[in-house]
Symmetry: C2
Subunit: 380 residues, 2 copies
């Protein structure tokens, strides 16, 4: 017997009651019964995004909704400014290039947030930039980008702000309408505590205007068609029915807790995790602008991060995420978004301490746990 | 208490053991544990498609895989011949047009199969046609198209045969390599007995060659990238993990029954359903080339099909599908693909008889059931 713990930043754990809800008999999607569920999900999504615009649902993973943003807003030859500070920033650029956009790369060192001044300078330098494409939280580097400040820059200009909020929506408050975010994207398998397979996207009024003039080819990801269908409480193509049924249950849980409490919980867990990591003398990956979705740290010199991650997963039964590209084998990422609570952080830090001790790292057992406990006790 | 029965052609019922399998704790997709599951699914898909080529998995509904076929094979300006005998034939054309292809429509009366001669004539008339796009089974009209014969026409020419097998794969034997089908597509929510959210696609060797020269823009549906990832037992983007876990269980069930027995079961249920419908004096929608996936019939004169369908669903608890476009309110479609067995047909015909009797139709109760029973007893 080995109990398994999932502490990777997506898929994240799914609450048992949501798993069981999704295990109920499947239903047909073109029925009033399913439309009622869809309508509830739709209202929940608007509440979560804090927008009066429709939040559209796609049967796809998050990358599908990122592509939807690109193909529904632009024309070939348009220039976009891509905040490239990790794997997902890079993905914005690759999708844009695949569709013939000109990409102006704003490269950011992995582990750093984008500097608002650098974006301002780029926009000043080239006012024809059609949009800034960024992440709310760059999952690969556990960094939070300054979305509110970026929205201040693009508001009132002809440049749209397009935010991949895949590991930010439901983790931190990002009121789309109030801040002036033009496109916000998220996925099911992060703070929404569901299996992967659903993606969500909303467009501001001015983004919808841009959509009317956007000629890039699209069919499955045609958002105008989805909007027309959603107005009738349905989807253009067969929706991922069981995941939608799960989503309704997730919203029941999230709104019972209250969105502000959800954000506060994420903030406390994140601070606790960071304190624990610091107490173990581990170097944080994102020291200045850490995300509340996950905490990354460099493994100590002489300890192979890949082996540590593998040992934690296969020996201790605790799955974290490692690093990608040049960070491969060098970092561990601990998730705390979605269905995470106090004692998940105790498990995470306890397991890290134990496996580091086995590997010969000389931090005292319990030191990280103790540092986290002090913060976690704020919750009681 | 009202027991509910789902007899619509997708989503189809999901076996309880598959629902429970998918309700197990979620796992991370970049782990050897998940790769092992993925690898099993991958082998199962090849066995099902009867192909030596990789069968790729997309987190999308079936339409996503149809789009993937188009964007991975063609260039803007290419001409495709679209067999348009229903909603899904029409969809091939619309996707193609969205990407700038020239569509030669081969219109077929709804309820009829395409005439092989008509395809042959169209190809002879225009040898530059890049591909024939068709359905194996046109779900909206319950018609089976003659795929084997169409493959004979395209074999050895420069024209590809692209088959939407969404309600045909797993229902009837369509050995992709042996017949010379160039692209075959299916989805999770039909014969594969899963919730919607996964789509599958395989390309023949010559279709892969065409892919190398195809310049239509693509990213999320880039099949070359998926193939490269699948060779490493993973996917380019986050897969729909829970559905993949379900798929492994589905293959366990299907291969335990044996594919030939699966096809035979579908054939017997389909013949029984058609016999039952005939015994009730109902006019079949697809008299000459009925699909084994679903049976459509016209509701009797004076009986509104929409009302009948609604009453069956809301009053009797039995969900069928109605008609689309000009068949709206005029037909009922009874599914028998996937997790369907003898007594589902008894339920279907029993419910139809009862609701027709209530509506004043003068066929004797039990007549359809009896006709079906005679055929269904072949199974024992």
């Amino acid at each position: 017997m080995k109990k398994r713990y999932l502490l990777s930043p997506g898929p994240t754990p799914v609450p048992e009651e949501v798993l069981l809800e999704m295990a109920k008999p499947i239903m047909h999607h073109r029925t009033p019964q399913f439309s009622a569920i869809f309508s509830e999900c739709y209202k929940g999504l608007q509440k979560l995004f804090k927008t009066g615009q429709p939040v559209l649902t796609l049967a796809a993973s998050g990358t599908g909704a990122m592509e939807a943003a690109v193909v529904n807003l632009f024309n070939a030859g348009d220039t976009v400014l891509v905040v490239n500070g990790g794997k997902f920033g890079e993905r914005w650029g690759k999708i844009s290039q695949a569709y013939g956009l000109k990409v102006e790369w704003l490269n950011v060192e992995w582990g750093q947030a984008v500097a608002v001044d650098a974006v301002a300078a780029a926009l000043k330098n080239n006012p024809s930039i059609a949009a800034v494409l960024t992440q709310g939280s760059e999952t690969s580097t556990t960094v939070a980008h300054p979305i509110r400040e970026l929205a201040q820059l693009t508001k009132g200009t002809d440049t749209l702000l397009v935010v991949d909020g895949i590991t930010a929506v439901g983790v931190v408050d990002m009121p789309m309408d109030e801040w002036g975010i033009d496109v916000m994207v998220t996925g099911s398998q992060k703070a929404l505590m569901l299996p992967p397979g659903l993606a969500f996207i909303a467009l501001s009024e001015r983004a919808w205007k841009r959509n009317a003039a956007a000629k890039l080819p699209r069919y499955y990801f045609d958002l105008k068609r989805e909007r027309d269908n959603q107005a009738k409480d349905t989807t253009a193509y067969t929706p991922a029915v069981s995941l939608m049924i799960g989503l309704r249950k997730v919203f029941e849980l999230m709104f019972a807790e209250g969105l502000d409490n959800v954000y506060k919980r994420h903030d406390t867990l994140a601070r606790a995790c960071r304190a624990g990591v610091a107490a173990l003398g581990l170097k944080p990956l994102a020291p200045l602008s850490p995300a509340n979705s996950a905490t990354g740290f460099f493994t100590p010199d002489g300890i192979d991060g890949g082996k540590l991650e593998k040992g934690l997963r296969d020996n201790y039964g605790v799955t974290f995420a490692g690093g990608q590209d040049h960070l491969k084998g060098k970092i561990i990422r601990v998730a705390h978004l979605g269905y995470f609570d106090t004692f998940d952080m105790i498990v995470a830090l306890g397991a890290i301490e134990m496996s580091l001790a086995k590997a010969g790292h000389n931090a005292p057992l319990g030191a990280g746990v103790a540092a986290a406990q002090k913060i976690l006790n704020e919750r009681y």
